[in-house]
Protein backbone atom coordinates (compact mmCIF):
# COMPACT_ATOMS: atom_id res chain seq x y z
CA UNK A 1 0.00 0.00 0.00
CA UNK A 2 2.78 2.41 0.96
CA UNK A 3 4.64 1.86 -2.31
CA UNK A 4 1.44 2.38 -4.27
CA UNK A 5 0.77 5.63 -2.39
CA UNK A 6 4.23 6.99 -3.19
CA UNK A 7 3.75 6.12 -6.87
CA UNK A 8 0.35 7.84 -6.91
CA UNK A 9 1.89 11.00 -5.44
CA UNK A 10 4.82 10.94 -7.87
CA UNK A 11 2.36 10.50 -10.75
CA UNK A 12 0.28 13.51 -9.68
CA UNK A 13 3.38 15.69 -9.31
CA UNK A 14 4.76 14.56 -12.68
CA UNK A 15 1.48 15.47 -14.38
CA UNK A 16 1.92 19.06 -13.16
CA UNK A 17 5.66 19.33 -13.77
CA UNK A 18 5.86 17.79 -17.25
CA UNK A 19 3.70 20.46 -18.98
CA UNK A 20 5.71 23.20 -17.26
CA UNK A 21 9.01 21.79 -18.46
CA UNK A 22 7.79 20.78 -21.92
CA UNK A 23 6.11 23.99 -22.96
CA UNK A 24 7.17 26.39 -20.23
CA UNK A 25 10.40 27.68 -21.75
CA UNK A 26 9.86 29.16 -25.18
CA UNK A 27 7.18 26.61 -25.94
CA UNK A 28 4.53 29.27 -26.04
CA UNK A 29 2.86 28.26 -22.81
CA UNK A 30 1.49 31.33 -21.05
CA UNK A 31 -0.32 29.28 -18.39
CA UNK A 32 -3.23 31.66 -18.01
CA UNK A 33 -6.45 30.36 -16.51
CA UNK A 34 -8.80 28.35 -18.74
CA UNK A 35 -11.71 30.25 -17.12
CA UNK A 36 -10.26 33.52 -18.44
CA UNK A 37 -9.71 31.99 -21.88
CA UNK A 38 -13.39 31.01 -21.96
CA UNK A 39 -14.36 34.57 -21.05
CA UNK A 40 -12.24 35.85 -23.97
CA UNK A 41 -13.87 33.28 -26.24
CA UNK A 42 -17.32 34.59 -25.26
CA UNK A 43 -16.35 38.10 -26.35
CA UNK A 44 -14.88 36.68 -29.56
CA UNK A 45 -18.11 34.82 -30.41
CA UNK A 46 -20.40 37.67 -29.35
CA UNK A 47 -18.41 40.94 -29.47
CA UNK A 48 -21.39 42.99 -28.26
CA UNK A 49 -21.74 41.08 -24.99
CA UNK A 50 -20.89 42.89 -21.78
CA UNK A 51 -21.14 41.40 -18.31
CA UNK A 52 -24.34 42.62 -16.72
CA UNK A 53 -23.28 42.08 -13.12
CA UNK A 54 -19.88 42.66 -11.55
CA UNK A 55 -18.49 40.58 -8.67
CA UNK A 56 -19.64 41.71 -5.22
CA UNK A 57 -16.04 42.09 -4.12
CA UNK A 58 -12.78 41.61 -5.95
CA UNK A 59 -9.40 40.94 -4.38
CA UNK A 60 -7.53 44.25 -4.81
CA UNK A 61 -4.40 42.58 -6.26
CA UNK A 62 -3.00 39.32 -7.59
CA UNK A 63 -1.16 38.90 -4.29
CA UNK A 64 -4.34 39.11 -2.23
CA UNK A 65 -6.04 36.71 -4.64
CA UNK A 66 -3.26 34.15 -4.31
CA UNK A 67 -3.38 34.66 -0.53
CA UNK A 68 -7.06 33.74 -0.50
CA UNK A 69 -6.47 30.70 -2.74
CA UNK A 70 -3.71 29.61 -0.35
CA UNK A 71 -6.10 30.07 2.57
CA UNK A 72 -8.68 27.93 0.81
CA UNK A 73 -6.17 25.17 0.08
CA UNK A 74 -4.66 25.19 3.56
CA UNK A 75 -8.06 25.11 5.27
CA UNK A 76 -8.96 22.05 3.22
CA UNK A 77 -5.61 20.36 3.81
CA UNK A 78 -5.91 21.07 7.55
CA UNK A 79 -9.25 19.32 7.79
CA UNK A 80 -8.14 16.30 5.71
CA UNK A 81 -4.91 15.97 7.71
CA UNK A 82 -6.75 16.30 11.04
CA UNK A 83 -9.12 13.52 10.03
CA UNK A 84 -6.34 11.17 8.87
CA UNK A 85 -4.24 11.98 11.95
CA UNK A 86 -7.16 11.37 14.28
CA UNK A 87 -7.91 7.93 12.84
CA UNK A 88 -4.23 6.98 12.66
CA UNK A 89 -3.74 7.89 16.33
CA UNK A 90 -6.90 6.08 17.33
CA UNK A 91 -5.83 2.93 15.50
CA UNK A 92 -2.41 3.04 17.22
CA UNK A 93 -4.03 3.51 20.62
CA UNK A 94 -6.36 0.57 20.01
CA UNK A 95 -3.42 -1.60 18.96
CA UNK A 96 -1.43 -0.60 22.06
CA UNK A 97 -4.42 -1.21 24.28
CA UNK A 98 -4.91 -4.67 22.80
CA UNK A 99 -1.19 -5.46 23.22
CA UNK A 100 -1.04 -4.53 26.90
CA UNK A 101 -4.01 -6.63 27.86
Amino acid sequence: MKRQNILLLVGAIALAVVPLVMIGHGGGGAFGGSDDLATKLITAIEPGYHRWVSPVWEPPSGEIESLLFAVQASLGTGVVAYCLGYYRGRRRAQADHAATR
Binding site: G29, F31, D35, L41, R51, V53, L75, G76, C83
Partner: protein, 224 residues
Protein backbone atom coordinates in the same frame (compact mmCIF):
# COMPACT_ATOMS: atom_id res chain seq x y z
CA UNK B 1 -15.14 25.46 -14.99
CA UNK B 2 -16.10 28.73 -13.34
CA UNK B 3 -18.30 30.84 -15.54
CA UNK B 4 -17.43 34.35 -14.42
CA UNK B 5 -19.90 36.73 -12.82
CA UNK B 6 -22.25 38.31 -15.35
CA UNK B 7 -21.06 36.09 -18.22
CA UNK B 8 -24.32 34.16 -18.56
CA UNK B 9 -27.33 36.02 -19.96
CA UNK B 10 -30.02 36.53 -17.31
CA UNK B 11 -32.37 33.88 -18.71
CA UNK B 12 -29.67 31.21 -18.64
CA UNK B 13 -28.49 32.28 -15.18
CA UNK B 14 -32.01 31.94 -13.80
CA UNK B 15 -32.64 28.68 -15.66
CA UNK B 16 -29.55 26.95 -14.23
CA UNK B 17 -30.30 28.28 -10.75
CA UNK B 18 -33.82 26.84 -10.92
CA UNK B 19 -32.43 23.53 -12.17
CA UNK B 20 -29.93 23.39 -9.30
CA UNK B 21 -32.35 24.29 -6.51
CA UNK B 22 -34.20 20.94 -6.13
CA UNK B 23 -30.86 19.07 -5.89
CA UNK B 24 -29.78 21.44 -3.13
CA UNK B 25 -33.05 21.03 -1.21
CA UNK B 26 -32.81 17.23 -1.29
CA UNK B 27 -29.08 17.48 -0.50
CA UNK B 28 -29.62 19.64 2.60
CA UNK B 29 -32.28 17.24 3.85
CA UNK B 30 -30.07 14.17 3.31
CA UNK B 31 -27.15 15.94 4.93
CA UNK B 32 -29.25 16.70 8.02
CA UNK B 33 -30.47 13.09 8.22
CA UNK B 34 -26.94 11.78 7.85
CA UNK B 35 -25.49 13.99 10.58
CA UNK B 36 -28.30 13.03 12.97
CA UNK B 37 -28.33 9.29 12.34
CA UNK B 38 -24.64 8.71 11.80
CA UNK B 39 -22.57 11.11 13.96
CA UNK B 40 -19.53 8.82 13.47
CA UNK B 41 -19.32 9.93 9.84
CA UNK B 42 -19.02 13.66 10.67
CA UNK B 43 -15.27 13.74 10.60
CA UNK B 44 -15.09 11.87 7.28
CA UNK B 45 -17.69 14.25 5.85
CA UNK B 46 -15.53 17.18 6.95
CA UNK B 47 -12.59 15.52 5.20
CA UNK B 48 -14.65 15.11 2.01
CA UNK B 49 -15.43 18.84 2.15
CA UNK B 50 -11.78 19.63 2.88
CA UNK B 51 -10.67 17.56 -0.11
CA UNK B 52 -12.98 19.55 -2.41
CA UNK B 53 -11.66 22.79 -0.89
CA UNK B 54 -8.02 21.88 -1.61
CA UNK B 55 -8.49 20.41 -5.05
CA UNK B 56 -10.63 23.25 -6.37
CA UNK B 57 -8.02 25.77 -5.16
CA UNK B 58 -5.16 24.06 -6.99
CA UNK B 59 -4.70 25.66 -10.38
CA UNK B 60 -2.43 23.27 -12.21
CA UNK B 61 -0.54 23.75 -15.47
CA UNK B 62 -1.68 21.56 -18.34
CA UNK B 63 -0.37 20.40 -21.71
CA UNK B 64 -2.32 23.09 -23.57
CA UNK B 65 -0.24 25.81 -21.91
CA UNK B 66 -3.07 27.06 -19.74
CA UNK B 67 -4.04 26.36 -16.15
CA UNK B 68 -7.13 24.78 -14.69
CA UNK B 69 -8.18 23.08 -11.48
CA UNK B 70 -9.63 19.73 -10.40
CA UNK B 71 -12.91 19.60 -8.46
CA UNK B 72 -12.48 17.01 -5.68
CA UNK B 73 -16.14 16.01 -5.88
CA UNK B 74 -15.62 12.32 -6.71
CA UNK B 75 -14.01 11.43 -3.39
CA UNK B 76 -16.93 12.55 -1.22
CA UNK B 77 -19.48 11.18 -3.69
CA UNK B 78 -18.20 7.63 -3.29
CA UNK B 79 -18.58 7.96 0.50
CA UNK B 80 -21.73 10.05 0.85
CA UNK B 81 -23.53 9.91 -2.49
CA UNK B 82 -24.13 12.71 -4.99
CA UNK B 83 -26.91 14.58 -3.13
CA UNK B 84 -24.85 15.50 -0.09
CA UNK B 85 -21.92 16.50 -2.30
CA UNK B 86 -24.19 18.98 -4.10
CA UNK B 87 -24.32 20.94 -0.85
CA UNK B 88 -20.55 20.68 -0.35
CA UNK B 89 -19.91 21.87 -3.92
CA UNK B 90 -22.32 24.76 -3.42
CA UNK B 91 -20.48 25.93 -0.30
CA UNK B 92 -17.10 25.82 -2.06
CA UNK B 93 -18.43 27.74 -5.07
CA UNK B 94 -20.10 30.33 -2.83
CA UNK B 95 -16.81 30.87 -0.98
CA UNK B 96 -15.00 31.39 -4.29
CA UNK B 97 -17.69 33.69 -5.68
CA UNK B 98 -17.78 35.94 -2.61
CA UNK B 99 -14.13 36.08 -1.57
CA UNK B 100 -12.14 35.32 -4.71
CA UNK B 101 -14.27 36.93 -7.45
CA UNK B 102 -13.95 33.49 -9.04
CA UNK B 103 -17.26 32.46 -10.55
CA UNK B 104 -20.16 34.57 -9.36
CA UNK B 105 -23.57 34.74 -7.74
CA UNK B 106 -25.50 34.94 -11.02
CA UNK B 107 -23.49 31.99 -12.38
CA UNK B 108 -23.57 30.03 -9.10
CA UNK B 109 -26.46 27.87 -10.27
CA UNK B 110 -24.75 26.96 -13.54
CA UNK B 111 -21.38 26.34 -11.85
CA UNK B 112 -22.97 24.26 -9.12
CA UNK B 113 -24.80 22.25 -11.78
CA UNK B 114 -21.62 21.44 -13.72
CA UNK B 115 -19.33 20.75 -10.76
CA UNK B 116 -21.51 19.30 -8.04
CA UNK B 117 -24.50 17.83 -9.88
CA UNK B 118 -23.11 16.68 -13.24
CA UNK B 119 -19.75 15.88 -11.64
CA UNK B 120 -21.30 14.22 -8.60
CA UNK B 121 -23.80 12.03 -10.44
CA UNK B 122 -21.16 11.02 -13.00
CA UNK B 123 -18.87 9.90 -10.17
CA UNK B 124 -21.77 8.04 -8.54
CA UNK B 125 -22.86 6.19 -11.68
CA UNK B 126 -19.30 5.28 -12.67
CA UNK B 127 -18.72 4.04 -9.14
CA UNK B 128 -21.90 1.96 -9.21
CA UNK B 129 -21.03 0.63 -12.65
CA UNK B 130 -17.51 -0.30 -11.51
CA UNK B 131 -19.02 -2.16 -8.54
CA UNK B 132 -21.52 -3.98 -10.76
CA UNK B 133 -18.76 -5.02 -13.18
CA UNK B 134 -16.59 -6.07 -10.21
CA UNK B 135 -13.68 -3.90 -11.33
CA UNK B 136 -10.84 -3.57 -8.80
CA UNK B 137 -11.81 -1.02 -6.12
CA UNK B 138 -8.94 1.40 -6.77
CA UNK B 139 -9.57 1.39 -10.52
CA UNK B 140 -13.26 2.12 -9.87
CA UNK B 141 -12.38 5.05 -7.59
CA UNK B 142 -9.87 6.38 -10.12
CA UNK B 143 -12.38 6.26 -12.98
CA UNK B 144 -15.17 7.78 -10.88
CA UNK B 145 -13.02 10.74 -9.81
CA UNK B 146 -11.31 11.33 -13.17
CA UNK B 147 -14.46 11.10 -15.31
CA UNK B 148 -16.43 13.25 -12.84
CA UNK B 149 -13.74 15.92 -13.16
CA UNK B 150 -13.81 15.73 -16.96
CA UNK B 151 -17.62 15.73 -17.14
CA UNK B 152 -17.74 18.95 -15.10
CA UNK B 153 -15.76 20.76 -17.81
CA UNK B 154 -17.74 19.19 -20.64
CA UNK B 155 -20.95 20.47 -19.04
CA UNK B 156 -19.47 23.95 -18.55
CA UNK B 157 -18.57 23.99 -22.27
CA UNK B 158 -22.11 22.99 -23.22
CA UNK B 159 -23.63 25.61 -20.90
CA UNK B 160 -21.52 28.31 -22.58
CA UNK B 161 -22.29 26.95 -26.05
CA UNK B 162 -26.03 27.13 -25.35
CA UNK B 163 -25.70 30.72 -24.14
CA UNK B 164 -23.33 31.82 -26.91
CA UNK B 165 -24.01 29.94 -30.16
CA UNK B 166 -21.44 30.51 -32.86
CA UNK B 167 -22.73 32.88 -35.62
CA UNK B 168 -21.68 30.30 -38.24
CA UNK B 169 -21.64 26.90 -36.52
CA UNK B 170 -24.48 27.49 -34.05
CA UNK B 171 -24.51 25.69 -30.72
CA UNK B 172 -22.44 22.68 -31.93
CA UNK B 173 -19.81 24.95 -33.48
CA UNK B 174 -19.58 26.94 -30.30
CA UNK B 175 -19.44 23.77 -28.17
CA UNK B 176 -16.38 22.58 -30.11
CA UNK B 177 -14.64 25.90 -29.40
CA UNK B 178 -15.39 25.84 -25.66
CA UNK B 179 -14.50 22.14 -25.40
CA UNK B 180 -11.14 22.96 -27.00
CA UNK B 181 -10.50 25.46 -24.20
CA UNK B 182 -11.79 23.36 -21.30
CA UNK B 183 -11.89 19.65 -22.03
CA UNK B 184 -8.46 19.17 -23.60
CA UNK B 185 -6.78 21.16 -20.81
CA UNK B 186 -8.63 19.07 -18.29
CA UNK B 187 -7.51 15.58 -19.39
CA UNK B 188 -4.18 15.49 -17.47
CA UNK B 189 -5.82 17.22 -14.51
CA UNK B 190 -8.58 14.64 -14.42
CA UNK B 191 -5.92 11.92 -14.27
CA UNK B 192 -4.24 13.82 -11.41
CA UNK B 193 -7.51 14.03 -9.55
CA UNK B 194 -8.05 10.30 -10.01
CA UNK B 195 -4.57 9.53 -8.61
CA UNK B 196 -4.99 11.86 -5.61
CA UNK B 197 -8.44 10.47 -4.84
CA UNK B 198 -7.10 6.89 -4.79
CA UNK B 199 -4.24 8.10 -2.55
CA UNK B 200 -6.50 9.70 0.07
CA UNK B 201 -8.90 6.76 -0.09
CA UNK B 202 -5.97 4.38 0.52
CA UNK B 203 -4.92 6.37 3.59
CA UNK B 204 -8.45 6.44 4.93
CA UNK B 205 -8.88 2.70 4.34
CA UNK B 206 -5.64 1.97 6.17
CA UNK B 207 -6.43 4.01 9.25
CA UNK B 208 -10.20 4.12 9.46
CA UNK B 209 -11.36 0.90 7.84
CA UNK B 210 -14.16 0.54 10.44
CA UNK B 211 -15.68 3.95 9.65
CA UNK B 212 -15.20 3.59 5.88
CA UNK B 213 -16.66 0.09 5.99
CA UNK B 214 -19.97 1.60 7.13
CA UNK B 215 -19.93 4.17 4.34
CA UNK B 216 -18.80 1.89 1.54
CA UNK B 217 -20.45 -1.46 2.34
CA UNK B 218 -18.71 -3.21 -0.52
CA UNK B 219 -15.37 -2.44 1.09
CA UNK B 220 -16.01 -4.70 4.06
CA UNK B 221 -15.23 -7.73 1.97
CA UNK B 222 -12.53 -6.15 -0.14
CA UNK B 223 -10.29 -4.20 2.25
CA UNK B 224 -7.49 -6.74 2.66
Amino acid sequence: MHIMEGYLPAGHAIGWSVATLPFLVVGVKRLGDRLRNDPESRLVLAAAGGFTFVLSALKLPSVTGSCSHPTGIGFGTVLFGPWIMTVVGFVVLLFQALLLAHGGLTTLGANCFSMAIAGGFTAWWIYRLGCALRLPFNLTIFLAAALSDLMTYVVTSLQLALAFPDPVGGVPGSAVKFLAVFAVTQVPLAISEGLLTVLVMNLLRTHASDVIGGLVPRLRGIAR
